[in-house]
């Protein structure tokens, strides 16, 4: 109950209720049903049914003959067979085949729930549009699915609350800047993308829009991989994050680029065949960086090193300004 109130607090009463409404009315049976399906043919014996129910701890199964659903046989039918000592009889003789109640894969679970109540039954075979048996659904399946969906709503609501609505909203000063620094090792492909991933998460955490975080992440990833692939002994990635500008610098101390203009040409690469085999060295790194940045500058000298500076200007849309939707219910 406490958590329910918390959810309402986070999403606003209307928000939470309409989400729950939406869930119950729109969640299709296909998302809830069990698809790992156990069935029996009509000429299997009641003894085989007994074994199947016991082995899988279930209380009934659909009966499928000639590729079609022909009935449902349950533990009640088994008890009936036991009473008349007919465990050797085919299940065809004990199953329910007239007036079978079924659910449809695409109907909302709300409809299925209503039928469960009206008919007082425990399970329904689920048919698709071509009347083919695709699953089975129980009341328990629905309860579980709704609980799981509610749990997701909570998590979503909590994430919304944890994340500031506007870039840098959480930090206030006259001159705010966040500096992040990462050492990149030469040849460490396993950790490739680690620094860019951390920068991306940091940006999202302080309220950057996904678009801004994405373009910074893509450009930084390319710069990071360049250090791993091409530098003599690794290098540094330094990010300076300010409310209106983000600057990321990747620098190393060799070998240096002989012809920077040539290196910028799409498709030009000096990567080794081994590295190319891993999918690097397409010669698109600097092109990608240029596309994602507002300004890119490269300084390089052979035998000295390379310094790549990437500048990203935070546009009003990217800082979350003017986005009124996100301000509600927080």
């Amino acid at each position: 109950m406490k958590r329910q109130i918390a959810l309402l607090g986070l999403m606003g009463r209307g928000g939470a209720l309409s989400k729950i409404h939406e869930l119950i009315r729109e969640l299709p049976v296909s998302r809830v049903m069990t698809t790992a399906l156990l069935t029996l043919p009509p000429d299997a014996t009641m003894m085989q049914l007994k074994e199947l129910l016991r082995e899988h701890h279930i209380s009934g199964v659909p009966v499928v003959g000639g590729g079609r659903l022909v009935g449902v046989v349950s533990i009640e039918d088994l008890i009936h067979a036991l009473e008349v000592q007919r465990l050797d009889a085919p299940i065809r003789e004990f199953m329910t085949s007239e007036g079978l109640v079924t659910a449809h894969a695409q109907e909302p679970v709300m409809e299925a729930l209503r039928r469960f109540e009206q008919m007082g039954i425990g399970r329904m075979p689920v048919l698709d549009a071509r009347q083919k048996l695709v699953g089975i659904i129980t009341r328990g399946d629905i309860t579980l699915a709704l609980l799981r969906a509610l749990q997701e709503l909570y998590t979503e609501a909590e994430t919304i609350q944890d994340r500031p609505q506007h870039f840098f909203d959480a930090l206030e000063s006259e001159n705010t800047s966040l500096q992040l620094r990462y050492r990149i090792e030469k040849g460490d492909f396993a950790l490739g993308g680690d620094a860019s991933g951390k920068i991306k998460r940091a940006l999202l955490r302080i309220g950057a829009s996904p678009q801004l975080a994405r373009r910074v992440a893509i450009a930084t990833y390319e710069a990071e991989m360049n250090l791993i692939i091409h530098s003599d002994d690794g290098g540094l990635v330094l990010a300076d994050i300010q409310p209106t500008t983000i600057t990321v610098v990747a620098q190393d101390s060799g070998p240096g680029i002989a012809d920077v203009e040539l290196a910028k040409q799409p498709g030009y690469s000096t990567a080794t065949p081994e590295v190319r085999e891993m999918g690097f060295g397409a010669g698109m790194g600097l092109t990608n960086i240029e596309r994602c940045t507002d300004k890119m500058s490269i300084w390089s000298a052979v035998g000295v090193g390379t310094r790549l500076q990437m500048t990203f200007l935070v546009s009003p849309e990217e800082s979350g300004e003017g986005d009124e939707e996100t301000g509600q219910g927080a």
Binding site: S30, T35, F189, A190, G192, G193, D194, S196, G197, K200, P210, R214, A217, I218, Y221, E222, M225, M278, G279, F280, A282, G283, M284, G285, T287, N288, R291
Partner: protein, 110 residues
């Protein structure tokens, strides 16, 4: 359509990310060159590839793709699976070659 539904329709094997199969799939992207993927794949895409080394996880996670689909049942190293599990990246395996995998996805409307 979400990742789980595609897994079912194509009979894919879920290698990692069993808990993240409800992500909506908005499209697809095919390439083995990582820079092309960085430039072309969108968040919510399925990325179909034959690359299996650990760096594919970083690429997928940076781009927020819905899932990586490794074609032709290419063996995926343990280090890749561990990293993907840590970062909640979904890796699926298709027994079909890339062309067939993509044709079947297209037929589903992806």
């Amino acid at each position: 359509m979400n990742v789980g539904e595609i897994v079912e329709h194509l009979g894919l094997q879920v290698l990692t990310g069993t808990d993240h199969l409800d992500g909506e799939v908005s499209g697809g992207y095919v390439a083995d060159l990582l820079s092309c993927v960085m430039a072309g794949a969108e968040a919510g895409d399925l990325w179909i590839t034959l690359q299996t080394h650990a760096n594919i996880v970083a690429v997928a996670s940076l781009l927020n793709v819905a899932a990586i689909v490794v074609a032709e049942s290419a063996p995926v190293p343990e280090s890749t699976l561990t990293k993907a599990a840590e970062q909640g990246v979904v890796i699926l395996s298709s027994s079909q070659p890339v062309y067939e995998t993509v044709s079947r996805l297209a037929a589903l409307g992806v």
